[in-house]
Structures are given as C-alpha cells and as structure tokens.
C-alpha cells in the first residue's frame, strides 16, 4: 500500500528565514510526485510534478527536489503570503489506468512578518 509521510506537521518561520519541508514516500513504482498548496477552506492548488530521482523544479521562492525515497520543498526567503498547508502526493505506476493520488497529511507553514 502506498504511504506518504510529511514532516514537520507544522513549521513557523520568520519572514526571510529559509527552510525545507520533507515528504517521504513508499510506492511500488513512482509514476509521479506532486506538491500542492492549500489555503484554509479551499481546494489544493497545484505547484509541481516530479517524475524521476534527481529532478528539480522551481517557482518563485519554492524549489522541489526528488530522490528515490523522498522529496523536499525548499522555501527561500519566505513571505507571510506563503503561509498555507503544503501537501505532497504520489501516483503509483501499479495503479494501471487508475491515476489516484495518495496524499500525506500536509505541513502547516506559518510565516510571521
């Protein structure tokens, strides 16, 4: 069974204080790893897809990296508007034509001004 574990559960940063969020996963075969941002009471907002170990993607202050067992979401010089829950999800290639996402519980990031 696919498993996704995110750490820490919650992270509080000062504005400008860089840090990383971790996503550890267990799948039969990784089709893709996805990062989403979710604001309270809203649906998840797509950020990145990573497909193979060594891959990196960047968007503004965010950079996502992937190894064979985990992914990191690096946040450089965060701003208060980066405060949100960040969700990691995996797609397992053994699912065949079922492209379900298995999510972790998320990391609640708070950036103080």
């Amino acid at each position: 069974e696919d498993q996704v574990t995110q750490s820490p559960e919650a992270l509080r940063l000062q504005e400008g204080e860089s840090s990383s969020l971790n996503c550890s996963y267990t799948v039969s075969g990784l089709r893709g790893l996805f990062w989403y941002r979710q604001d309270p009471g809203k649906g998840p907002e797509f950020l990145f897809t990573l497909y193979s170990a060594g891959e990196e993607k960047e968007k503004e202050r965010l950079k996502a990296t992937l190894t064979k067992k985990e992914s990191f979401l690096h946040i450089t010089a965060p701003k208060p508007e980066d405060s949100a829950t960040y969700l990691c999800a995996v797609q397992d290639i053994s699912g065949g034509s079922n492209y379900k996402l298995t999510f972790g519980k998320g990391t609640l990031l708070t950036v103080n001004p």
Binding site: F34, S97, Y99
Partner: protein
C-alpha cells in the same frame, strides 16, 4: 479559462439523508476524480472516472457512488449520511493521468 467548478459550496444535511455533489471539469479534461478531506488530514481518494467509465474506487462504503456525463461533468452521491461523512469533498480534473487540478470543494456538514 474557468477552473474546476463545484456546487454547492456548502451544504448541511441530517443523518440518514441523501446528498448529490456536482463538478464541472476544466474544458478539455476528460478525467474527473473525487476526494474526501476531513479536518487535519490529506485528501483521500474516492473515485476516478475517465470517458464516463469508472477507473478506480477507493476504500469507501457502497453508500458512495458517482457517475460521469457525456460532457465530462460528474456527480458524487452519498446515501444514508452519517455524522462521519462530514468533510470537504473535492473534485479534481486532469487531461488524463497528468497533473490534477482541484475545485474549491463542497463543505458537507451532517447533523
């Protein structure tokens, strides 16, 4: 371009009642998936449909059912509502197997 739209945004139902939630995918997307998210947890997969066929079902009781229409919109139906069904129900659309884009969700409260 319009994103994924879900209706209604909020709903209050009584235990034992039935509920229907609706979803319109992004134009051109033929795959729709449904997820349940309870407070403090990540979304949990319920169903995936592609070209009106069910392609996957999560670990949910038979009280949950769904369908996809020729225009690729979808409905999620839940019968005999329980208090534990209270959650944010999310619909996601994708071209097929690519990135999934989520709607704003329907907040269901069962009293």
């Amino acid at each position: 371009d319009a994103g994924v739209t879900q209706s209604p945004t909020h709903l209050i139902k009584t235990r034992g009642q039935h509920v229907t939630l609706r979803c319109s995918p992004i134009s051109g997307h033929k795959s729709v998936s449904w997820y349940q998210q309870v407070l403090g947890q990540g979304p949990q997969f319920i169903f995936q449909y592609y070209e009106k066929e069910e392609r996957g079902r999560g670990n949910f009781p038979d009280r949950f059912s769904a369908r996809q229409f020729p225009n690729y919109s979808s409905e999620l139906n839940v019968n005999a509502l329980l208090l534990g069904d209270s959650a944010l129900y999310l619909c996601a659309s994708s071209f097929y197997g690519s990135e999934a884009f989520f709607g704003q969700g329907t907040r269901l409260t069962v009293v």
